[in-house]
Amino acid sequence: MSTISTTRTVDRTALKVTQAGIVLTLLLAFILSALFSPIVLLVPALAVVMIAGALNPEFAAFRQLYLRVLRPAGILHPRPLPDNPRPHAFAQLMGGAVLLIAAVTFLAGFTVAGWVLVWLVLVLAFVNLAFDF
């Protein structure tokens, strides 16, 4: 059976930290914006972080938090598994793009539509986090 010359791996823990960060940030934005509306700015901020992180892992904030703080402190441990990193980066890019559209939708005054888009990203990130789907 023919093979590729290198085996690609993805650190599943880094992936889970990123997904958890996305879910928590969006949940916080959704719940707390009822008390303090500028919290909704977390949505475009997260969009920028996700898009930048997808294009260059050096700018992936949650991944860097894991690499520089959580892993060295022994709070989390790496779990490299055979996988292709590109679909994950693409999914993150798409998620960031949808959140940017949500931010524009909020600016235009269509709050419900904006939250629907946010929830789309939130649910997909959660399903990925909880069920590896």
């Binding site: 059976m1 023919s2 093979t3 590729i4 085996t7 690609r8 949940l27 959704f30 719940i31 707390l32 009822a34 008390l35 598994l81 055979p82 996988d83 292709n84 590109r86 679909p87 929830w119 649910v123 959660f126 399903v127 909880a130 069920f131 789907f133």
Partner: protein
């Protein structure tokens, strides 16, 4: 009309809880459906063409499938560590009968076949070396139990 902030937070928390329950419920449905699919694939029964005297792993692949390359690497690495089985790559699009038999709907997928040609495990999606190794252990344990 704007809600009292505390009530608004409560409503949003309710939405979060409802969404969580819906996702968990949906996940149970998906898991049950996949378990049923796997069960039906395993009851396909042995086929004479696979009774080679040695266990086999069929690796269902496709063109433009990056995960299929990763899966083939995993299977080849396992074979190097445990040279006790044969492998066969199956192009899913060119094998409609096999994909129907094992309920393959996406690639990669792997099917473990025992020496008598009967399927013993089906994996839909990328599967790691540890899982395949465990499934091989089960295959050999069943074979030993049947022989004794």
């Amino acid at each position: 009309m704007s809600l009292d902030p505390t009530l608004a937070v409560a409503v949003r928390l309710g939405v979060v809880a409802g969404a969580g329950l819906a996702i968990l419920g949906g996940q149970r449905v998906v898991v049950a459906w996949q378990a049923g699919r796997r069960r039906r694939a395993l009851t396909a029964g042995p086929a004479a063409q696979w009774a080679s005297g040695a266990p086999q792993i069929l690796v269902f692949t496709g063109t433009l499938c990056a995960d299929c390359l990763v899966q083939k690497d995993v299977v080849n690495r396992l074979q190097k560590h445990r040279p006790i089985f044969d492998t066969q790559e199956v192009m899913a699009a060119q094998s409609p009968e096999l994909t129907r038999r094992f309920r393959i709907q996406s690639v990669p997928a792997t099917v473990l076949i025992d020496a008598a040609g009967a399927p013993t495990a089906v994996n839909y999606g990328l599967v790691d070396e540890a899982t395949l190794s465990r499934q091989l252990d089960t295959l050999f344990a069943t074979k030993t139990a049947a022989a004794s």
